[in-house]
Amino acid sequence: MKNEPFKRVSNQIEMKKRGKRASILVENVVFIVLNLVFLTILILFIARQGSGAILLEESYAKQIALIMDSAKPGMDIFIDFEKGIEKIKDSFGDEYYTNSSKFQSTIIVFNDNIVTVKLKEGKREGYSYSFFNDIQLNDFNYYVTDGKLFFRFTR
């Protein structure tokens, strides 16, 4: 009976200590979680910037223009088109890269010696770039196969 007040005080001290430990733990967990969220958003931002439709359109249009400039009859040339397919899927739908005529009339369009690439649906006309090789549309064929953009130059 004599020790009862001391026990009560001791219990109170113990609880205070536990409360303090718990609060430190929560603070650290919240701090780490917030940092992880911050880093994730930062990485997502950088990744999205690098694979934006506008950037890809420019990149593909210039690559294709260089392909057309260096093409010779009998050549088969293909370039990686995985990122382009992802954009087409999101914006237009699967048939716009599986169906050659839709692909050639909407996504990658040749108008004389000017190539226009459009990966995002909307009012924008896409990105156009010219090439100096005076090659005709019936001199080559192009389509998407196995994640690649394939060019076959016949004449």
Binding site: E27, F38, I41, F45, E58, K62, D69, S128, N133, D134
Partner: protein, 192 residues
Amino acid sequence: MILIIMLQMGNYFLGLQDKKAAEKILSIYWFIILIITVAGIYGMVMFYYSHPYDIRQVEASLLANKIADCVSYGGQINSEVFNYSDVKISDEFKDNFLNNCNITFNVESHKDWKAEQYYLEINFYRQVSDSRGDLDKIIKGNSEIKDICDATDKEYERLPKCVNKRFFTLYGTDLILIDIVTGVRKSEKNVK
């Protein structure tokens, strides 16, 4: 947005826990560092991706290769280049050079493009022992490009890119030196 939330949550925790002043200051500094990091990375990413890919040097090089393949093939000069009577470039070949070599200087419409965006110059020299005699030359495209394309300083990177290629070929038993200069402007689409 996330930074504002983090800042508010940090203040909430600081106020609730009644921490030491030093810890509060450290926490504020931590958020300042985060803001600086975000601003820095954002700035660098935007700076990097806002610059277009510059392919003019490759274009000029490909143009020079195409011309070389057109005027000479397998070490012999194209039979259509010179007149048979004298070693001068045939007028037909010279006048229709772009058609003969399947080259077009048409470009997409751009508000700042008034003149042609390409230039090519082919000089033919006859090599006799150590001396070299001018034969003829073909010039097509925007000749202003030639005048300014030699500048290589960083401050001139908006200027056209040029490529110079030269090689020997045979015309019968005569040795002909062909010197090709090509230039591509298209600065607005390749440089910011």
